[in-house]
Structure formats: C-alpha cells, structure tokens
Symmetry: C2
Subunit: 562 residues, 2 copies
C-alpha cells in the first residue's frame, strides 16, 4: 500500500468504528442489542444512503483502490472468524447436557419446524423465495431451511441478561436450546457448502462430509480434553494472559484454515474450536474478558458495518419477500420452540416466552446469508430480506418476551436495587427511619407518603420485620404497578426485633403491588437470602464510602439471587 492508500485505509476503518459505535449506543439507549445499531451503521454508510447521497466521497473512501479493498477484506475475514470463535467460547456443553427433556424438545423442535417450513416453502415456491439459479433448487431450499433454524447466541445471551432471566429455568432452556440449534445449524450449513464443492482441492462431497464430521468429533472430544489439560500449564508457565490469548487465536485460525480447506468455510472451524476452548474450566475470566472486549468492540463492528457496504438496501428491497421471511421466521421458531417447550413441561406462558426468546437471528443469519450471496446461491434481494428479518427478530425478541413474562420472573432484589435509593441514616428510631425510607421513593410510587408510612407501620407494629445478621425488611403491598426498594444503612443499628437480638443496620424497605402476593413473598425471600451468610453480611457492613456499600450490596444480591 502506498501512503495515500494507507491514509484512506485508516480513515475508512475509523469511520466504520465511529459509525458502529454511534448507532450502537443509540439503539442501546432504547434497550436494543448493540449489533442492531452496528448493522444499521453499515447500511447508512454503504451504497444505500451515503453512497447515494455523495457517491464520489463514498467511492473515494470505500472503493478507491483494489489494495484497500483487499486489506479491508483481510481484516473483516479475520473479524468474522474471531466473532465466531468468541461465540463458540460462549457455548457451554455441560449446560446443554444438564438441561433435560424441556431443552431437548425445544431445541429439536426449534430446528425441525423452521427447517421444514423454510425447506418446504423454498422447494415448492423457489421463484417467490428469490432463487438465483434454478439448477440449485435443492441446495437453495436447504439453505433457506437452515437460515430459519439458526439463532444468534450472543444476542440471546444479551436479551436474557437484560430481562433478568439469564439464570432462571426459562433462561437455561432458551440458552441450551439456542446452543444446540446454532451447532446443528452450522453443521447443516457446512453440508450445504460441501454440496457446492468449494473445497480448495475439490474434494468429493462424501469426503468433505466425512472430514467435517471427523473434525467436529476430533475437536470436541480429543482437542477439548487436550486443551483442558494444557491450559492450566500454559497459564502457569507462559506469560499471562499473553500465552493463552495466543493459544486461543492460533487454534482458532488453524481450525478455520482447515475447514476452509475442506470446503466448509473458515468460520465453522473457528466456532467449533471456540466451543472446545470455552468448555475448559481452566480458562480464566480475565482472558475471556480481554478477547471478548476486543473482538466485540473492534473486530465485530468492522465486520458488521462491512455488511451494509456490500448491498444497496433500498434498491434490493422487496417488501413481499421481506414479509414472507419475517412471517416464516416467527412461525417456525414460535410454533416449533413453543410446542417443544410446552411438551417438555413448560406452561403456556413460559412456552411463548421461550419461543420468542429463540427467535433472535442476530449476526449468525447474516453471516450465513453473506456466504450464500458470495456462492451465488441467493439474489441480493434475498440477502436484504434476510438481514431485515435478522434485525426484526432481534429487536422484537426482548419486548415480546417481556409482554409474556410474569412479574415474578421479571423482578429480583438485585435488579430493583437502585443506587439512588441507597443511603446512610442515623435516625433516632424505627419510625423515623421508615419515614426516611418512604420519603426517598415517594415520587416513584405516585402515592401519598403518609399512606405508605401507615401501611408499613401497621405491618411493622404487628410483626416486627427484623430478620438476622443486621437485616430488617419493613414492607407493604400498596397500589403500585412495579415493586420499589429503598435501603438505609443505619450507623448505630435499630431494634427491629431480629431473631438474633442484634440491632438492624441494613434496613430494606420493600413495596410491592397490592395484587401480587407471590411477588412479595419471592422478593422477601431473595432479600433474606442475600443476608443468610453471617460472614458475608458482615463484610457488607465494613465500608468507607456510601458508594462502596451500595456496590457491595448489589454484588452480594446478584450472587445470591442467581
């Protein structure tokens, strides 16, 4: 690259990162997954908008020289490989095994039905579904089937955490099923790729399949055990975390090279190797964190933005096709996973939540589409429809799940803790501290404070709410929609009639909706559980700043509510 190429190369990377970050943060503000913003940034920066408004500037930045395009494609190639490697790290094989019948049925139905729908529709109506080359009808139908079966683990994880159901039974079912569906989806896709005969040395279809299955078995059994054995040694003997970081990338790149070589694309190898590495208990959090942050914040955005740079989303927008894909996606996952979960023992409400939860297609869908586009399997309008479908399913997943989640699953002590409502108090007595607590959150409830105080006080007079280990939980059910919590740390302690006779220093006011008895019981239990361990409770009480108290409390609550 000559100096002027280097200048443009650097500027284009900067613009891509800047666009991804800006849009990513924007969508985050409205509680959407960041990757949605990153993909949108690419559409805005690509031929769809920027390239249409200012074609000359656009061309001089993103397609002025072949060298720059090659260098950029080198980086986005590495980026997508690393993205799949990190996605693989997130797959937890033992979690899959531990989840029982419900997850098994959810995941199987979550593949079978969407695949059947996608395959059937494309095989019967190939033109309507946008086939590119009619001699490839079978491969095309297989591809659409796969595209509807796959799900996007990273987006799903994010959604579950946002909804605070990551470590609940529903969460585990969704997670385990999504992992299985991802793995199965990629395996089916690798078979499709081998049917296309894209291997470097033109291996036969049977040979490619045999090598693929051999690679999966070898990596997930032999290599996984080897890594589990070798990782602690590397972490101890080599520079930390440099040695492990290199090991992860080297293994990832080499298996990517291998799968690319046998004709099933590099990312598949990276994904499988990611699973094998991520499974090791020896892999330290610190290492995961470094690689995760760098990949999701630097490499992934570069790849996600590059998607939008390839296609004009307005020119290739076909409303009917977009609607068909969205409807098929929703139908497949909602019915498939929903019934799977229902048969597995979930109630109707939970089954619907699981169905919507499994519907996020995120970046996986798009990566698949991109490859299909490159191999001439689909037209650009199908690619555009797939991207839009991926965005719609990812965006709609959290709000739709939220609609069907019960309050009990939605709220937890740790989630309701708000630093704004945590304070230090030296009130003279029980009534004074309760008044102080109510004063803090009065505005949030929209109810007259005297009324709240009297409700809490009535309860407190009859049954004192001191628990043990310095904790008291004055509480009441009042006329509100969402539960509210305030916490006072009392400097000298107040007698709330605790069982161990010790004055209470952590006083948690809990107000819950009048109609929901179950929710109150659940939250009371969670708060009590947080302070069950004497030593840990005492640790919370030693702090120097208010912020420290708040963060320790939150940490302990998160731990014990998990």
């Amino acid at each position: 690259m000559n100096p002027s190429e280097i200048v443009i190369f650097l500027v284009s990377i900067s613009i891509m990162l800047f666009g991804a970050r800006s849009l990513g943060e924007l969508v985050r503000k409205v509680n959407q997954p960041i990757i949605v913003g990153e993909i949108l940034a690419g559409i805005l920066l690509g031929p769809t908008l920027f390239g249409t408004i200012a074609p000359e500037t656009y061309n001089s930045i993103f397609s002025s020289s072949k060298n720059i395009s090659i260098a950029l494609s080198g980086i986005t190639n590495l980026a997508v490989i690393m993205l799949l490697l990190v996605s693989g790290l997130e797959v937890d094989l033992s979690l899959i095994v531990k989840q029982g019948k419900q997850a098994a049925l959810t995941s199987i139905m979550g593949i079978v039905l969407p695949f059947a729908i996608g395959f059937g529709a494309s095989y019967l109506f190939p033109y309507q579904m946008g086939i590119n080359n009619e001699s490839m009808k079978l491969v095309f139908a297989l591809f659409i089937g796969t595209a509807l079966s796959i799900s996007a683990l990273p987006v799903i994880v994010k959604t579950l955490i946002d909804l605070n159901i990551f470590k609940t039974q529903i969460g585990f079912t969704i997670l385990a099923s999504a992992m299985v569906d991802d793995l199965a989806g990629w395996i089916i896709f690798s078979i499709i790729l081998s049917m296309l005969g894209t291997s470097v040395h033109h291996l036969s279809f049977e040979m490619t399949i045999a090598l693929t299955l051999g690679f999966i078995a070898f990596t997930l059994i032999v290599v996984r055990k080897l890594i589990n054995y070798i990782l602690p040694i590397i972490q101890e003997k080599l520079t930390f975390p440099g040695g492990v970081l290199n090991l992860i990338l080297i293994l990832g790149f080499l298996s990517a090279a291998f799968t690319e070589y046998i004709g099933i694309h590099a990312i598949f190898g990276a994904f499988i190797m990611g699973i094998a590495i991520g499974d090791s208990a020896a892999l330290s959090e610190n290492t995961r964190e470094i690689i995760h942050q760098f990949v999701t914040n630097i490499f992934a955005p570069l790849f996600l933005v590059s998607i939008g740079l390839r296609v004009n989303f307005i020119q290739n927008f076909d409303l009917v096709l977009v609607l068909i894909f969205i409807i098929l996606a929703f139908a497949g996952k909602l019915i498939g996973c929903g019934f799977g979960a229902y048969w597995g023992g979930a109630n109707r409400r939970e089954a619907i939540v699981i169905g919507f939860g499994m519907n996020s297609k995120g970046a996986m869908e798009i990566i698949l589409g991109l490859l299909a586009l490159e191999y001439g399997l689909i037209q650009e309008k199908v690619f555009v429809a797939l991207v839009i479908m991926a965005l719609v399913t990812s965006i709609s997943s959290a709000p739709l799940m939220n609609m069907f989640l019960s309050d009990k699953s939605k709220y937890s002590f740790s989630r309701l803790l708000n630093p704004k409502y945590i304070f230090i108090s030296d009130s003279a007595d029980k009534f004074a501290v309760i008044t102080e607590l109510v004063n803090r959150i009065e505005k949030d409830t929209g109810i007259d404070k005297d009324q709240i105080i009297s409700e809490v006080w009535e309860r407190e007079k009859d049954f004192p709410t001191g628990i043990a280990n310095s904790l008291a939980i004055p509480h009441a059910r009042i006329d509100i929609k969402k539960p509210v919590i305030a916490v006072a740390y009392h400097t000298s302690g107040i007698d709330f009639g605790a069982l161990d006779g010790i004055p209470s220093r952590v006083i948690v006011l809990l107000l819950t909706p009048k109609t929901n008895n179950e929710l109150q019981l659940k939250l009371l239990a969670e708060i009590a559980a947080t302070f069950r361990d004497k030593e840990r409770s005492e640790e919370i009480l030693t702090f120097t700043k208010k912020e420290e108290f708040a963060s320790r409390l939150l940490k302990l609550a998160t731990l014990s509510n998990a």
Copy 2:
C-alpha cells in the same frame, strides 16, 4: 481473497503468532525482553533460515499471492500503528515535568551526543556507514543520528520493573529521559521524512514541518485537554469499556492518517495521540489493560515477526558495519546520558546505570530502520546492522545495569518475599518459631543452621524485635551474598516485646550480608513500613488460605515499598 488464499492467510498468521510466542517465551526464561524473541522468530521464519532451508514451502506460505501480501501488510500496518499508540499511552507527561535537572540533563545529553556521533560519522564516512544513494548524504546522516538517539520505552519499562528499580530515583530519571528522547527522536525523524517529500499531496518541506509542529502542539495541548474532559463522560454514558476502546482507536487511526497525509508517516500521529490519551487520569486501568494485552500479544508480534520476513539476515550481514553501529550506540548513550546524569547530581555508579538503562533500542530503532529502508535511504545491510544493534542493546541493558546497581537498590522487601518461605506456624514459643523460620531457608544460605539461629537469638535476647501491629522482625547479618527473608504467620501470636504490647503474629526473619549495614537498615525500614498502617495490617491477618495470606502480604509490601 479466494478460499485457498484465505487458508494460506490464516496459516501464515498462525505460524507468525506461534513462532513469536515460542521464541518470546524462550528468551523470557533467560530474563530477556520478549520482543527480542519475537524479532528472532521473524528472522528464523524469514528468508534467512526457513526460506533458505525450504524455499518452496516458504514461498507457498509467505509469498504465494499478491492478495495475501496486501492483506498481511494491511494488518502489520495497523499493528505498528497500534504498537506506537500503546507506547504513547505509556508516556507520562507529568512525570517528565516533575523530574528535575538530572532528567533534563540526561535526556538532552542522551540526544545531543548520540545524534552528533551518528551524524558526524555518517556525514564524514557515508560509504563506510552504508549509504544507499550519495545524493542524500545529509538526510542519511540525519537519519543515522536519529537512529542512535532514539530509545525504546516499552523495553526500558520492562527492564526497570525486572530490576526492581521502576519506582526509584534512578528509575524515574531513566524513564523521564527516555520519554523525552523518544519524543524528540520521532520529531526529528518526522522532519527527515518531510525532507524526503513523501506527503500524499506533495506539500512543501516548510509546509510539512509547520503542519507537524502544529499537529504536535494541537494534540498535546488542545486534544489532550478535550480528552481529559470527554473521557469520564464516555466511560459513564457509553458501553464500558467498548466506548473508550473505540475512542482510543478512532483517535489513534485518524491522527495516524493525518500525519501520513502530511508526509511524516502514520505511526508518528498514533504515538503523539497515544501520549495525549494516556495522560488523562480518567483512563481506567481496565481499558489500558485490554488494549495493552491485545496489542502486545497479537498485533505487536505480527509486526515484529514481519520484520524478519523482509530481509535475509545472513546475506546482508556485514560484521564491520554491525560492530560500528553497536560501538556507536553504546558510546553515544553511555557517555551522553552518563555524563548528563552525573552533571545532574548522580554519583558515578548511578550515572553508569542510567547510561546503560537508556541504551535499549528495542522495536523503535527497527521501525525507524524499516521506514528508511522503504524510502531507499539505507541499504539492506544497514537495516540488518540496525536490527542487530537494537537486539544487542536491548539484551545487554539489564545485565549491565545489574552489574553496577548497588545491593541497596537491587533488593526490597517485596522483591525478596518468596511464597516458598511463607508458612503458618503454631510453635510454642519465640525460640521455636525462630528455629522453624531458619529451617525453611537454611539451604538458601549455605550456612549451618545452628549458627544462624544463635546469631538471630543473640540479637533477639538483647533487643526484642517486636515492632507493632502484630509484626516482629528477628534478624541477623551473616556470611551470605544475597539477603533472605522468611515469614511465619503465627496462629495465636507470640510476645516479641512489641511496643503496643500485642503478641506478634507476622514474624519476618531477615538475614542480610555481613558486610552491608546499609542494606539491613533499608530492609528493616521497608518491612516496618509495610505494617505501619494499623487497619491494613489487620486486613492481612484475615485470610482463609495460606496462599491468600502470602498474596495479601506481597501486595501490601509492593504498595508500601513503591
């Protein structure tokens, strides 16, 4: 890139990372800076060895297609830009300002003399120094002068930490001076580049110089303040650490693009922007850590290995030239910085240590040489000589400094703490615990244990060594070369006559060389200082596992010895 190119691209990156890590760890085992190993890996993997032994395999991996070379060069370009960005982050402007006359004289002399020597030798004997194009004599001489003036901050930091003098007066002087010399060296080099007229739009020499100085002033004054203002906001409002990571890279890439555009190479802009960003107190350790680990473990090795891939180090090896460069490098830095430090108030010994400390040339030298080679300023044999000179100065720095460092600077409590010699004891009395302590370290001293015990006991009987806050330091000067320390945690506490009357629970045995009174006093003071704070001392005493005790003790010692 087609599939077979992607395969080779991934394999070559994997091999580069693997080679860098292997050689890097190898040299680390013999206490050498890792970058030395990474550069050596490149030489072994390049035309020098691998390319000579197996030219066909070599070509098929590293130079089979133009696309792969371009993609690799895109990545190494980003790598070296990020490397300089991270190096810039390590520069601490306030440290430079705080260091007084000594650092000022050291850094000025550390540029003036090496530059004069390099310039003089190259201007007077251009052929012997390996000039490529005699019409460029002035630029060539300026370049050699700069090459001898620059130093490698990352290697120097590593050496100082290894020698345990990072936070001493000598360490600060070396650090501040190296920062100034690096900055000055790059500014001079940017002037040289502008003389070559390499700007994208062929700006005039004067214009380039004006823009360069303007860029430096603007970045270090205006942008630095802006970053300091904006960083806390970004850390709070945007995703953390993603937002900051992107900000750092975007700013780094954009300033790199700017300086490349005005004709003084991208890395200069990244370096200056790194300084401006790193200066902000708001930049969190976590963010620094992520970017530092990823760049030094992934990108830097790719760049460092790529150096060796360019040149055959045997074919272009010119012993005389290598010796000349090594001699000039040592002469310039040792005499220049040594005298500077001496005039600034250092004693002769310290001055020599500072001189050797400033001599590491590390990767900076090589980056400079690489650019000079690309611009046709030097021949390949000069480049080879520069690389070897950089390796020799980096390797020799630590051992030479160590030779001249006094024992007092070399040893500290935290450095002497060895987990092997830290244990839990429940001995019955003072004599028993001292015996136990001596038993632990007897082998390390090579002296009869009864003799040691009697020496310690004599001292203890006359003047009990209990200090306060549960600490006692039984000690003796015996016939050993290096000081030794053992630590017992006594479960119930033993009366060592401490001033606060509290039985001692942390009993530190300190044995120092007979001849060195000063060293004993210094270490006693350091151990006492570690336990000066009552609260912190008590914190050490609450632990559940022996390892926890050891690590807390080490942490506190490191903190208070700093």
